[in-house]
């Protein structure tokens, strides 16, 4: 059986304080603190490329001594802000990491739902091809496309990367996953002329109307109820949406973390950044993860500690 064996992350050291720029952006400090819940957002260095963020995350993984680069058979990068439109960023990461040539590499173009989709894709691919060692990267630096004067996006999104080592004898095995798409709503979060724009209400309505039922469906498919889950990892769009969904599902607040206050909504890295923190906690046996956003797209799954 393959599954999640390890996770490492890289959050760039640069930060932009949200509270310091409230006045300039016409935002209310109390609103930003209490509702958005993001005090600062991470920003990669100008010279850092998406592949560099991936490599930085991998270096942290490699230093733990449990991954041997020469054994990697699959590299998947989830990003919608690649180094170049072509070649795929996973190929660039492959080259920078000096991975063996007998290694598959491909990108997945997904945003906030990308980690759950990405796990399903890489695990399915590896099982089908009989592979035992794979890396799933999430790296989607929205700073490449954000207008820092747009408070709708600038105060939310932060840069980060994660890498998940998918291998045999995993820490967590992936249960059954649910997936969804509402393509008619694609304009709700879109990049046109290299600039991101978001219709906050459209995205909120989408999440509010879609995610609760998807979480219930996912639990049912996995033969579980809310009481069986030790952690609910909800995509960290904002404190408000996490709390809204938590209330809608009547989730225990202590099991539904909000952890991105100091770095922001990191898109597909949002879920694995939190999952990394519970990987070593043996008391956390079952984790539900739900990602939702650009597309519009959503996916939910349950992880089972082995």
């Amino acid at each position: 059986m393959i599954g999640i064996s390890d996770i490492a992350s890289y959050i760039p050291g640069n930060r932009i304080s949200n509270l310091d720029r409230c006045e300039a952006l016409g935002a209310d400090k109390a609103f930003v603190s209490n509702k958005i819940g993001i005090f600062s957002v991470a920003r990669k260095a100008v010279h850092e490329e998406t592949s560099d963020l991936c490599c930085a995350a991998f270096e942290r993984l490699r230093q733990r001594g449990r991954v041997e680069p020469s054994r990697i058979q699959a590299v998947v990068v989830c990003t919608q802000n690649p180094d170049y439109s072509l070649p795929h960023t996973s190929a660039i990461v492959h080259g920078k990491l000096g991975l063996p040539e007998q290694c598959a590499a491909f990108d997945i173009s997904l945003g906030c739902s990308g980690y759950v989709y990405g796990l399903a894709v890489i695990e399915g691919f590896m099982k089908g091809a009989g592979l035992a060692h794979g890396l799933l990267f999430t790296a989607d630096p929205y700073s490449k496309i954000i207008d820092e004067n747009d408070k709708n996006t600038s105060l939310l999104f932060g840069d980060a990367a994660t890498v998940t080592y998918v291998a045999e004898s995993p820490v967590f095995a992936t249960g059954r996953s649910t997936f969804g798409t509402r393509g008619k709503g694609y304009e709700g979060l879109i990049c046109r002329d290299k600039t991101l724009s978001m219709n906050g209400r459209a995205i909120f309505n989408f999440a509010a109307s879609t995610v609760p039922d998807d979480v219930r469906n996912s639990l049912a498919m996995n033969g579980l109820s809310i009481g069986d889950i030790d952690r609910f990892l909800i995509h960290q769009g904002s404190k408000y949406i996490v709390e809204f969904l938590s209330k809608a599902l009547e989730l225990p607040p202590e099991k539904t973390p909000f952890e991105c206050a100091e770095y922001g909504n990191t898109v597909s890295s949002s879920l694995p950044l939190m999952l990394e923190n519970v990987l070593g906690d043996a008391s956390i046996r079952r984790v539900l993860m739900t990602g939702f956003g650009v597309g519009l797209s959503w996916a939910t799954t349950v992880l089972f500690r082995q």
């Binding site: 209310d28 609103f31 509702k35 209400r201 309505n205 809204f244």
Partner: protein, 79 residues
């Protein structure tokens, strides 16, 4: 037909932390400590509960700024 009481119920159930009894039904809600995210939640519930679709342009044109306006909007579309 809905009334202001129905909207007040939604606001109370939204856990905004506002004394709904003190709300002036004629004044814009954003002038009464209800912020943009609170309004999103309120209007989401209005759409869901009363099966009405609220156009973005109508919000931008302040057609749903107050409780009275929300009531009027919903009832006009239910007729």
């Amino acid at each position: 037909m809905i009334t202001g009481v129905d909207i007040l119920r939604i606001i109370r159930e939204s856990d905004i932390g506002i004394d709904t009894e003190a709300l002036d039904h004629r004044r814009p809600l954003h002038e009464q400590q209800i912020d943009s995210l609170d309004m999103m939640t309120i209007l989401f519930e209005v759409e869901k509960r009363f099966s009405v679709s609220i156009a973005e342009a109508d919000i931008e044109n302040d057609l749903l700024a107050s409780i009275d306006q929300i009531v009027q909007y919903v009832n006009a579309r239910a007729a």
